[in-house]
């Protein structure tokens, strides 16, 4: 176990290093520079700014500087938000995105799993169709439609919830639901499929033959086994959801991390983009790492 963890940790570090390196050079192959904005600066002024920020030096030299700063946890100053460090931007925006993501997961996970199990148990019956309907709906309605729809009903018409912004717990309800629905749909689908798969397994027949009650079979033999694919899905899902979503954050005016993923790349804010990639990378690798360890607990057949 300990040996496995050490090995995985080592691989994780190499993964992050590769990610940072490839992204660094890929990012710099994009044409243009961060100082070419709507306020058109003359070429001389751009050169001056490039020199000031050290972006004119040889790429390898910049890479080494970047990497050595990164190891010390310093991701530099944003090129657009000139007086703020990438670290401080992530520090203020990530907790907001993460809090929204956690709320959505807390809503989607139990309901999604429950609907998945229910529809698998009542396969072909009305309950099943209802669950499948919800999950198809959730997967196919884009979040900007759902978000606007919720705003229209609950804020503009019924006037019981605020339209947007991120201040009181009340403000979090609509974005949480908007974000949760698609998660819920995915979870329902996967849970349903995986429940159906285990139903035909030999150990379920054996359990039945032993004379176990239906509920005992469902809880101890089916759900536990069906959870393995959910666990696999959950790692990246948690990582993605906590990182924020561009669309929902935009519609509900939530000052999260999501906007920066898009804006930093279109604006060629090198330091910000790199900071986000590395941060996301670390988060994703960690989530997968935890999932791999968790396999061992959920499924005794998997030895780590």
């Amino acid at each position: 176990m300990a040996k496995y963890i050490v090995k995985r940790l080592l691989i994780s570090v190499i993964t992050i290093w590769l990610l940072a390196t490839i992204s660094f050079f890929l990012l710099r192959t994009l044409p243009g520079n961060p100082f070419q904005t709507n306020q058109i600066l003359s070429i001389e002024m751009q050169e001056k700014m490039m020199t000031y920020y050290g972006l004119n030096r040889p790429l390898l030299e910049q890479y080494i500087t970047y990497l050595s700063n990164l190891i010390r946890g310093d991701m530099g100053y944003s090129l657009k938000y000139t007086n703020r460090t990438v670290n401080s931007i992530i520090k203020t925006t990530f907790p907001i995105s993460a809090s929204l993501g956690l709320k959505a997961l807390a809503l989607a996970l139990p309901i999604g799993l429950f609907l998945g199990v229910a529809s698998a148990k009542k396969r072909g019956q009305a309950v099943d169709y209802a669950c499948v309907f919800i999950s198809v709906l959730g997967v196919s309605i884009p979040s900007f439609i759902l978000g606007s729809f919720l705003q229209y009903i609950f804020a503009l018409k019924l006037k019981i919830l605020p339209m947007a912004q991120w201040s009181t717990p009340l403000h979090t309800i609509l974005p949480t639901i908007a974000l949760a629905l698609s998660l819920l749909a995915t979870l329902t689908r996967v849970m349903r499929a995986s429940m159906l798969e285990v139903t035909t397994q030999d150990y379920v027949k054996t359990a039945k033959a032993k004379g176990l009650t239906e509920s005992k079979i469902t809880w101890s033999h089916q759900i536990r086994n069906a959870m393995v694919p959910i666990l696999t899905l959950l790692g990246p899902m948690v990582a993605t959801v906590l990182m924020g979503t561009f669309v929902i954050e935009k519609i509900f005016a939530i000052p999260g991390l999501g906007q920066h993923f898009v804006n930093s790349i279109t604006g060629l804010d090198y330091t910000m983009t790199m900071g986000l990639i590395v941060f996301y990378g670390i988060f994703m690798v960690t989530a997968n790492f935890i999932v791999d360890i968790a396999y061992g607990f959920v499924d005794p057949r998997i030895r780590i």
Partner: protein, 546 residues
């Protein structure tokens, strides 16, 4: 059995959670956050957050808007008039090169006096190469400023920026510039800075309300990045008696539909900048134009087909500016037929009366004339039909408006002249790269028109970095040089007018329109002004009368 109970409990919890939410929602019904009551509080919504509070580095409209309220320069624009700010009065030396400002007894929001040294420190800090400001160009007319920011001069005391004593500030120009005071009033980088704050916060200066101090009518109380900015009345402000608002809140809501919804609900009292689609739903919206001119820049460099003057004219005459403005442009936009912003006023007279120049293109276009120019162009190029023309590439920035303009113009040229234009839509940095490197044939440029006609026209002289079309006309450059050297306003204007006539005749650029801005504001918001200095809203003297 235990499991069943557990399941039931979980479901119960979830239900309780959902139920809890709704009841809470109903309770809060009539106390919506952000709503302004009669208490002189003003809430407005904008799409973008400000980038920085560092005067030396500020270059965006949203920062300029807030800075205008929380800080104050020597003089400023207020309701389109130049008024005194921290300066009480100023005098100009006989040769017009030395401006001496007498400062009033203004205070910073912490009670310390605003001194000439704060201005001297601010201006020199912006120019200091160590600061890394991209805005140094706005100090070019000041003696030795350019040499200092380029690093050729290291002695800051030789720059024409000097605090004579606590209350006297002196600016020395390279030469007499009749437009300097307008420039100083309009610029967004001429505010004072407190040295002790910069020293305390270093590179993080201006990143938040705690690392910033101003001397304007309001103080910055909080700035929740990408969410809200709260400003309270500055009790130390010199003109306090005329400031009626106690509190101003800017909510940052990137999505337009959401923002307009909040306006409907009364969560915001005003919305800055709404799109053409929304204006149809709000017929009583306000409009303003001016500040920016959009024109087509044709690449006239050798090897580019638009080096042909008649072809450029054919393209310009074919455009129905009026239809594009009606269908695509932002609300309140106006057709332009010259390189002058008609909203500029000089010595009390509209600039359009002093500059009767025009391209001669009717707002609806002149297709017959365009065809005639095309025939001339084709015969000069030795071609028999428009389909034989070499490829013409229109490079556009990837934004909804720019894409729509490009598509409308492309279709128009194809339909009226049979000229094929290829669109190349690129992300902003790449598109600008192409513009500056001259790898385009047609590019729609939006450029600030500034406060005087020089601002735009001086870009087209030979070798100017902003002369994107690569157009070289000696006579034009000579007129511009003469105009700049001229110290008498009337002479200067007549020279500028001659220069403008040349550029309109040779058409390296085709003026299109002046984009407008539409805004929403409730009736009870009095004296809200859409100003030139910030390019956006001025709420300093607003009062709420419900």
């Amino acid at each position: 059995m235990k499991k069943k109970i557990a399941l039931a409990l979980v479901m119960l919890l979830l239900l309780a959670m959902l139920a809890g939410c709704t009841t809470k929602g109903e309770l809060e019904d009539d106390t919506k956050p952000g709503i302004s009551t009669g208490a002189q509080e003003f809430v407005f919504g904008a799409r973008n957050d400000m980038m920085t509070l560092d005067v030396s580095k500020m270059n965006d409209e949203s920062s300029a808007l807030v800075m205008y309220a929380v800080n104050e320069g020597l003089i400023r624009y207020s309701s389109d008039q130049v008024v005194m700010g921290v300066a009480e009065d100023y005098s100009v030396s006989e040769d017009g090169t030395v401006y001496t400002f007498q400062l009033r007894d203004a205070l910073w929001s912490d009670g310390k006096p605003v001194t000439a040294y704060d201005f001297e420190y601010s201006f020199l800090r912006t120019l200091d190469p160590e600061t890394g400001s991209s805005q140094v160009g706005s100090f070019d007319s000041i003696l030795n400023a350019k040499a200092y920011y380029n690093g050729e001069l290291t002695d800051a005391s030789q720059v024409g920026i000097k605090a004579v004593d606590e209350k006297t500030f002196e600016i020395t120009l390279i030469k007499n510039d009749p437009f300097f005071i307008l420039q100083l009033a309009q610029g967004i980088n001429y505010y004072p800075i407190r040295k002790d704050y910069v020293e305390q916060f270093g590179a993080n200066y201006g990143a938040g309300p705690e690392s910033f101090i101003g001397c304007g009518p309001f103080t910055l109380t909080s700035w929740a990045q990408a969410s809200s900015i709260v400003m309270d009345k500055n009790e130390k402000y010199w003109d306090l008696e005329n400031i009626k608002l106690n509190k101003v809140t800017q909510l940052i809501v990137p999505d337009e539909n959401t923002l307009v919804g909040m306006y409907d609900l009364g969560e915001v009292d005003a919305v800055y900048s709404i799109s053409a689609v929304q204006t149809t739903l709000y017929p009583d919206h306000g409009n303003k134009i001016g500040g920016t001119l959009q024109y087509l820049s044709f690449n006239t460099r050798s090897g580019h087909v638009l080096g042909n003057e008649n072809l450029r004219k054919a393209l310009s005459f074919a455009i129905s500016r009026e239809s594009v403005v009606a269908a695509v442009a932002s609300p309140g936009s106006e057709v332009a037929d010259s390189m002058i912003d008609p909203s500029i006023f000089l010595v009390g007279v509209a600039i359009t009366e002093q500059y009767p120049n025009s391209t001669g293109v009717a707002p609806s276009g002149d297709v017959e004339q365009a065809k005639a120019y095309l025939q001339l162009a084709l015969s000069e190029l030795g071609l028999s039909s428009a389909s034989e023309l070499p490829a013409i590439t229109y490079v556009a920035m990837d934004s909804t408006a720019h894409r729509q303009y490009a598509e409308a113009l492309q279709a128009r040229w194809k339909d009226t002249l049979g000229v094929n234009v290829t669109l190349s839509i690129l992300p902003v940095p790449q598109a600008i790269d192409s513009l500056l490197k001259g790898t385009f044939d047609i590019f729609l440029v939006s450029q600030s028109t500034g406060v005087n006609p020089d601002t735009l026209l001086k870009n087209f002289t030979i070798g100017n970095g902003n002369n994107y079309s690569g157009w070289e006309n000696q006579a034009y450059s000579d007129f511009m040089t003469a105009a700049e050297a001229s110290t008498i306003l009337v002479d200067r204007l007549s020279l500028l007018q001659k220069a403008e006539a040349i550029i309109l005749e040779e058409a390296p650029v085709a003026p299109l329109w002046l984009p407008g801005t539409a805004y929403l504001a409730r009736d009870y918001v009095k004296d809200l002004h859409y100003g030139r200095q910030t390019g956006s809203i001025e709420f300093n003297y607003v009062s709420i009368q419900k």
